[in-house]
Symmetry: D2
């Protein structure tokens, strides 16, 4: 909320029209959102940590998306940029060798760190906003900056796409720094994202004393263990790669009690949306069967999801051209189809392409001090300038 309030205040000053919170996020499609209690506590924390109340208010319920629009009032296309803002539950390194520590801009919030570069993305987004505002008279059509929460865990984009924030968009550009692309290199269309579903499974059984009345228990731990094992055994798919993981299991409340509760954190992936749906359906059958085996109830909650996507080559070519003309980019690659992780910007891309628009996901390579999601993650800050410039040039070329 604090980050969103700051972003909103800057965009407001720059003259963008702002839609915020539930205006740009469909509650029905929000996934993995913190509960009410945590949300209120976080609001208080933001207030106590310098957030301006007026800019904090729209995000009070935990819907922290922002869509900032600059309408040039001149005929032209609508171009949108996706910027993600969220951090990760990692303690940032306090080692002297860690540049943000040495320079004093290390995260001050325990167990919260921008270890994937989304702070750089936010900075690039605001830099781009500044250039747009400064040059608005020479621009045409509309420009929309979509500041998205909860990209980590692929939880936020679907909610914004379902709120129709990109339904008027002709060109859509999402971007990311790093991801293994060398410093100064650029990929105009990064494809190969795996479709994914993130599932929280809860089994609810009946506790009983394991020595005294074992036959009266309904064993949620065994249901979960059996589910975990059989979920891993879901068959491969002949049409493309799959992934499956049960990353966490927590069950039971005491050594001598038949466990009446168990939780699994599951993740499925597929080379395309159909394959992921197949794996998810199999996982659901395994879970239902495990529950039936042990006479326990279960609940499956989808707390994150992303589809696969393929960038629009025509739009990618425009970005490629901008990059090749840029003094900040050493080498530009039009398309990279190698397999990648997952990314929920794909929900925007799918929706725009279905509506006849064009969409791409581009990468600005940078030098990394340590890998993404590492406590010593840090980028070459020069990359931000390159990104702002290339993205701004693309607006001009697209008009």
């Amino acid at each position: 909320m604090r980050t969103a309030s700051i972003v909103a205040s800057i965009l407001d000053e720059l003259g963008f029209q702002l839609e915020m919170g539930k205006q740009v996020m469909s509650a029905d499609y929000c996934m993995g959102k913190p509960n009410k209690e945590d949300t209120e506590a976080h609001y208080q924390w933001a207030l106590e940590n310098g957030a301006k109340k007026e800019y904090l208010e729209p995000f009070k319920d935990g819907y922290t998306g922002i869509v900032a629009t600059l309408d040039t009032k001149k005929e032209g296309q609508t171009i949108a940029f996706r910027v993600d803002m969220d951090a990760l539950p990692i303690n940032e390194s306090e080692a002297d060798s860690h540049f943000p520590q040495k320079e004093g801009f290390r995260s001050t919030v325990p167990n919260q760190m921008h270890a994937c570069g989304h702070d750089a993305h936010t900075t690039i987004g605001l830099g781009l906003a500044t250039l747009i505002a400064e040059n608005k008279d020479s621009l045409k059509g509309k420009i929309k900056l979509i500041f998205q929460p909860a990209e980590e865990g692929t939880r936020g984009a679907r909610s914004m796409a379902q709120a129709k924030v990109v339904d008027d968009v002709d060109y859509f550009i999402a971007s990311h720094v790093g991801t293994g692309v060398p410093d100064g290199h650029f990929v105009a269309s990064k494809n190969g994202f795996l479709a994914t579903s993130k599932l929280d499974i809860t089994f609810k059984g009946v506790a009983s004393h394991a020595g005294g009345n074992p036959e009266e228990g309904k064993n949620a731990l065994l249901a979960a263990a059996s589910a975990a094992l059989n979920i891993y055994a879901i068959p491969r798919h002949s049409e493309g790669a799959t992934r499956i993981n049960v990353g966490e299991m927590h069950a039971g409340s005491g050594r001598n009690i038949i466990a009446d509760r168990a939780v699994l954190k599951v993740e499925t992936r597929g080379e395309n949306t159909k394959i992921n749906e197949y794996v998810k359906a199999q996982a659901e059958a395994v879970i239902a069967g495990s529950a039936q085996m042990y006479g326990v109830d279960y609940e499956i909650q989808t707390v994150g999801e992303a589809v696969s996507a393929q960038g629009s080559t025509e739009l990618a070519a425009v970005l490629h051209a901008c990059a090749e003309e840029s003094p900040h980019i050493k080498k530009s690659i039009l398309e990279d189809d190698s397999p990648a992780g997952s990314e929920d910007a794909t929900f925007f891309m799918e929706r725009i392409q279905q509506n006849g628009g064009q969409a791409t996901y581009c990468i600005f390579g940078t030098e990394l001090a340590a890998g993404h999601h590492n406590e010593k993650f840090d980028i070459n800050e020069g990359t931000m300038l390159a990104a702002v410039k290339v993205l701004f040039e693309s607006i001009k070329k697209l008009h």
Copy 2:
């Protein structure tokens, strides 16, 4: 069929009234019966191996039970004796040290052996029939000899009990030789039989090429493996002992094919009928859940069943008295409640006791050359005489 036809012919000659085949076996409660093809083949085999056609006919459909009644026409109680006649799928030893081999009465049928003493039981039953026939003028009431098939696997008794063959019985005595009781010893009331269910489980899935289209298969082998593992994990019961076994599993038709068929042979036991029902219900839930996990169909066939039972002390006391008076019995024990295997004579006992009658299961100890179900099983044949005498004396004492 051949055995039954011989028994029937002897009983007929002795003047007993005979009810046979479906008259004394309820088809609805027959379990684990061979299929039509095997039954017909066996009928042919019996014909070719010396069975008299007239006595074979009643057993043609594979219902091989016999109830032989001698009605003295004098007022009095109805006393019944259960005699089991079936053999086991074991190749009898051809070792010179094996007495039946040396003396030339070893089984001549491959993979069929009286390795549990039921041939001795049949002999005892026919000996008893002879004494009864010879002394019929001095006897009262009715005497029923129940020659039961398929005690092994606990498959035959329920069908005869359901056909109401003991519904007019006041006293019921089942007996067995051996079972660890020393030579010359006698147990008037052997209790502690575990209730049991024998289940054949078939999973039917969908085959597919494991390399080419793994996602198109429905894996019956995995469903069965998962069921087997989780069946063993059924909780203990606080009220008494349980047993569970998956004795056989056969699945699949080729290394590179997702298995579309799997069979499990399962056995549950419980210290009493209620506990066995609990284990069986849990096993059924596990099987249903396993099938659901893998999207396969399943079928559960009950191919054997026995309940628990407790002998009637009053009746046991009569037998105990007969044994103590017998010159053939060195030591008689009234009751033995130690845990034992399973026995489906318990179906007769339960039904008779529910109708107000008395029932017991007695043991004639004998010297064994090797344990029951062993290829060198053999008894001290003198035990048969002791048994005939004690059982016959009990008739006289009960009138």
Copy 3:
């Protein structure tokens, strides 16, 4: 520590000789002891909550056993009483209907409650100590009061037995209130305790990104799930009851990470020590095999253990006689062999009986407001007086 310091101060005032802490507990045989940090924190808490420093000091390292001896200096036998003092991690009920709440003696420590009656045991022990001190001139031999920590989880007794605190004992009496025995009833020899082992299992694997490098992980969650399932599948034992439980499983650190750590809390039981050893050995094999399957390391820590025991009938008869003479006891039963939970006083009993002494475990029935380990557990306090009297009378009868 606070409880032990109070008990020690009272016993000291009454004139008992005290041995405390490591003097009466063998560090090598302590199981499931809190770590150093928690121990130190608890010591501070005790200091801040009214414990007298001089009496707290002997327990500083977390060894909180006390052996209080009164030597009459007259020839005679050594009689020992076992008193357990520990509480449970349960929040005591704040309901108005809960008597301790209404009367103001509810636990004031969050998540700590005397929900099994060990506070009553401590009170009984101190009452008995008072009577002994008051009557010491009329007594003979030695009397030892063994105040034991950590009976819950069967963690404390073995350590005291190994410290030889009962090696000079001729008669040993452990007692418990409640456990389903009706108010005013007494059981002089409660047998049937199951031998038990409490095992903490840790699997250590290798984390890797489940989408990016699944083949680089060593999956501790799967090893633990497979172990849990197969531990439940350990066969029954023909010689007596067994129990097995995996009460808790906690694994993994993130949805998209191959879990590198998993913990199981396991409990085995057997009708006697040999049967429990069998189950434990099977569980260890399953754990080793599961670890091998997934290439992970594992550690098995025994955090609790108890053997089975059979009370000495002669000693029980003395208690039985005292109870029958007591005006506070309505009905006394000499022996109860029905199956029960587990209790580590059995370590004292076994050692004493091996040395030729006599030992028994007796029960003082009481009215319970709610079952043991329930947040509303409460007893009829009159039971404490009855217990003190009967136990004191037994001393006189034994001399």
Copy 4:
């Protein structure tokens, strides 16, 4: 043996030099070979079914490979062709619509059918041999025809490669008909074969009576079930596709006996040899761990194996040119890298390429009446002529 003897007699008549049996197959590397008894019975059967004894003799021990060499004695390269000869355990259709049935050339051996086209391959090989023999004066170098047994199950090629039969080869061409390639089309370099291992696993435990002494058994069925489940759970590999299958499981000998024996038929595959080795190693660890869990012994037998391979582009180009010039081929494709099944000709290819030679695997498309391994499999016989011609032309082009 009968097939090999016929092939040998024809090649002998055509003037090829023959090496046969153990001369061309290393016994140490033979996999999944029938046992001695079956081998002798098959030899008798061949004798009784028209095989000439002189040509049968070299294959008597079941090593049925043939290498036929024509040495032109003129300087030049050595060119080898791989021809597989084996059938499948399938009952060929007797339907009137099945062309071989109608025309009278349906398999006359029950449960033996050329359902994959290897009879066509043998015919092509002999046709090629005839052309070579007829034109030997115009040819240079050496030509080797490698008639390989046991391609099904990938059992035969490794043994021949290890016998060094291709160590002097410069160019190696394996070919197959059908496999989905349209009639008249040709693929000069079919790649994408998955590396594979075929494993037979045997678990040996200890039987015991499941009711009487469950604790004395060592349960091979449970070890196998647990292995099956966990084998399917082997992680995916980030560098390429994997496949895993437990196609068959057979365990136990009776419902009431703890199973002392279990067999699994397992197949692993990987997009390349390294990935398959990874899956195989994981499977081996799972099997070892499962055995340890249940205290049973195990044995892993590798009964089939193939590596991955990539055709030599230069050699493929020669074949491609021949095909494009051929009046029998409508369309030729240089390379097809799409994923495919497994093929052990890859052992020859790997060895030749390691020695500096060139190798390729080509496909002659044909019209199929039904898919490979189907009981109605049949090809367009014209394809055989096309294949003979193209392969013969390649010899001329390669010199």
